[in-house]
C-alpha cells in the first residue's frame, strides 16, 4: 500500500515537471527593431571611470529610416546599462538571452521617462553601487502594454566598440579595519590568558 502511494506521488511530481517545462515562450530580442540611435560618451575619455563620481553623456533619438511608427507606438523610453561580453565571461548571472524575460545582461536602469520625439540627452553620474566592469548603454522603446518594441545601443552588433570601463567603490573603510583588528586581538589574547591560567591550575593540582 505504501509502495503504491509512493509511486503515485512520484508520477505526480514527474507530470508536474513535464507541464512546467513546456511553459509559453516569451518575446525575443531578435523581434525588436533597431530604430533608435544611441551614443554614450564618458566625459573623461580613455580612462577607467569611477563609480559615484564620473559622468557619462548619453544621447538618443529616433533613426530617420525607422520602420516602426514611433509616435504612435512608443509610450515610454527606458535607458539601461548593459554588460559588454568581456564582463560576462565566467559569470552566468550576467548572461545574454534572446528571450527578453530571461535576459540578464542589462540589470541597471539609468532612467525611464515618457517618450519625447525630440532627440534627448542625459548627463548620468555613475551610481556608487555599479560594480566594476565594461559597459555600453541600451535604450528601449516601450509600448502601451509595457512591452519592448524597439531598441538602440551605443555599441555595435557584436558589442565590442564604444565601451567604457567602470571601477566600483570598494566599500572598505578604515574604521572597519580597525574594528576587525581590535576584535581579533581581543579573541587571541583571551585565549592565551585562559591557557596560561589552566596550566597554572593543573600545576597546582599536580603538586597537591
Amino acid at each position: 500500500m505504501a509502495i503504491h502511494t509512493f509511486f503515485f506521488v512520484l508520477l505526480l511530481i514527474f507530470s508536474l515537471i513535464q507541464s512546467s517545462s513546456r511553459a509559453a515562450k516569451g518575446r525575443l530580442f531578435t523581434d525588436l527593431e533597431n530604430s533608435l540611435e544611441v551614443t554614450a560618451k564618458p566625459v573623461k575619455d580613455g580612462v577607467v571611470l569611477e563609480g559615484g563620481k564620473d559622468v557619462v553623456k548619453i544621447t538618443w533619438k529616433l533613426k530617420s529610416l525607422a520602420k516602426v511608427d514611433a509616435h504612435a507606438t512608443f509610450k515610454r523610453i527606458t535607458v539601461k546599462l548593459c554588460y559588454a561580453p568581456i564582463s560576462q565571461v565566467d559569470r552566468p548571472w550576467r548572461k545574454t538571452h534572446n528571450e527578453i524575460s530571461k535576459d540578464k545582461s542589462c540589470p541597471y536602469e539609468i532612467v525611464s521617462k515618457p517618450y519625447d520625439m525630440t532627440p534627448q540627452s542625459l548627463d548620468w553620474i555613475i551610481e556608487p553601487d555599479i560594480p566594476s566592469g565594461t559597459y555600453f548603454v541600451s535604450v528601449y522603446g516601450i509600448d502601451g502594454n509595457g512591452h519592448k518594441v524597439a531598441y538602440g545601443q551605443s555599441s555595435d552588433d557584436r558589442r565590442t566598440t564604444n565601451l567604457f570601463t567602470v571601477q566600483a567603490i570598494s566599500g572598505c573603510h578604515v574604521l572597519l579595519d580597525i574594528a576587525s583588528i581590535c576584535f581579533s586581538v581581543f579573541s587571541i589574547v583571551f585565549l592565551l590568558v585562559v591557557f596560561v591560567k589552566e596550566k597554572r591550575k593543573a600545576k597546582l593540582e599536580q603538586r597537591r
Binding site: 515537471i17 560594480p131 566594476s132 593540582e205
Partner: protein
Amino acid sequence: MQVEGNGEESGITNRRFALPVDAENKSTTFRLFSFAKPHMRAFHLSWFQFFCCFVSTFAAPPLLPVIRENLNLTATDIGNAGIASVSGSVFARLVMGTACDLFGPRLASAALTLSTAPAVYYTAGIKSPIGFIMVRFFAGFSLATFVSTQFWMSSMFSGPVVGSANGIAAGWGNLGGGATQLIMPLVFSVIQGAGATKFTAWRIAFFIPGLFQTFSAFAVLVFGQDLPDGDYWAMHRSGEKQKDDVSKVIRHGITNYRGWITALAYGYCFGVELTIDNIIAEYFFDRFHLKLQTAGIIAASFGLANFFARPGGGIFSDLMARRFGMRGRLWAWWIVQTTGGVLCALLGQIDSLTLSIVVMLIFSVFVQAACGLTFGVVPFISRRSLGVVSGMTGAGGNVGAVLTQLIFFKGSTYARETGITLMGIMAIACSLPICLIYFPQWGGMFCGPSSKKVTEEEYYLSEWSDKEKENEFTSH
C-alpha cells in the same frame, strides 16, 4: 532530583548532580530544557558554539549576489571559495579528536573557535577574489567543532542517552547553516536601511557572526567543564585511563574497511548538505529572479530542517535497531540516503519555483536524516578506535563536499541546475557501498550473521592481539 555521584580522585567527594548519574558520573537522562551544571550546561554550550561556527562558515553564500559584484568574482572564484570553505576542516576534524584527548573538549573547541574568529572579522576588509577564498578557507576550519561536540557529549552522557545527546547537538549545530541564510540578508538590509551603501553594508554584516563566534567561545571557557567531575588538566587522569598505543589505535581504525564506507557515504549525505548550504541561495536568486531576502528565506528552510531531521535520523536508527538489529539500521540508512539522492537529482530538473521549494524541503529532511542514521552505525564499527573511525567519517563528509563542488560547481562547466542533478546521481551511486557493510555478529544488508556464531564481545576483542590482551590481564 539530586543524586550523589561517586567522588573518585583528588579528594573530591560527595558531589551533587542535578541529574541522575552512573558510576562514571555521566548523566543517564537527557533534559532538554535544563541548564544544570555540568551535563546539560555542557550540551547547550557545545551545540551553541558549533551552531555559531556553522553560521560563520556559511555567512558568505546568502550575500554572494552582492559580494560577487563588489569583488568582481567569477563563477570559478565562487566555486573555489566554496571548496576552500569545507576543505580546511577535513584536516582539522582529523586532528580535533587527538586535541580533545590531550586538552579536553572545552579548551580544544574554544581554542579553534577563537583562533578562526579573526578570519570572519577580516572578511570585512577583503578587496580581491584571493582574499575572499582565503577568509572562507580559514573560517571553515571551525567546522571541526563537530568532533569536540561529539566527544564532550560522550564524556557527559551515558550509553542509553548518548545517541540522542550526540544527534541533537550535531543537528542543532548544523542548523547554523540554515539560520545564516536568514540572518545575513536580514542584517544586511538593516545596515543598508541605516544608510550604508550596498558594498559597505555586507562588510559590516560580517561582524555579527564574528562576535557570536567569539562570545560562544567565551561562554564555553567560562561556564563549561570537560568532565562531570571537573576539567581535564585540573583532574590529571593519567592513572585512570589505560594509555593505549596511539599508532595501534590509528592502524586499527584505518584498516577497518567499514570506516571507509561510512566516510564515503557520509560524504554524500553531509557533503551534499554542505554543498547545498554553499550554492542554494545563489541558485534561487539567479534561476527564479528573486530578491536577496526571499532567496535567503528559501535557502534557510533547507538548513533549518536540521532542527528535527538529523536527531530524527538518529532516533529512527535506534528504533530500527530495536526491531531488526544492525541490519535494520543499515537498511534504513541506505533507503533514506538513496531517496535523498533521488530527490536531489529531481530538484535540478524543476522549472517551477513552488515545486522546487517543495522538493527541496522533502530532500532536506531525507539528506539530514541520513546524516543522523550514519552516526547510528559508526559507534558500532570499532570500540578501540572509535575516535579514529568517527574522525574519518566526519572528515569524509567534508571531502565529499570538496569533491562535489570541484566536479560540478566550479566555474561555468555545468549550469547550476545540471550540477544539482548530477550531485544527486553521484549520491545514489556512493550510497551503494552501504550494502557491503558486514558485521560477523549481526550480518549485513543482504547476509545474515556468520555461521561461525561470532559474539559481539569477540568482534570487539579481535581488535586487540593476544599479547595485548595478556598484558591487560596481567597489569591488573
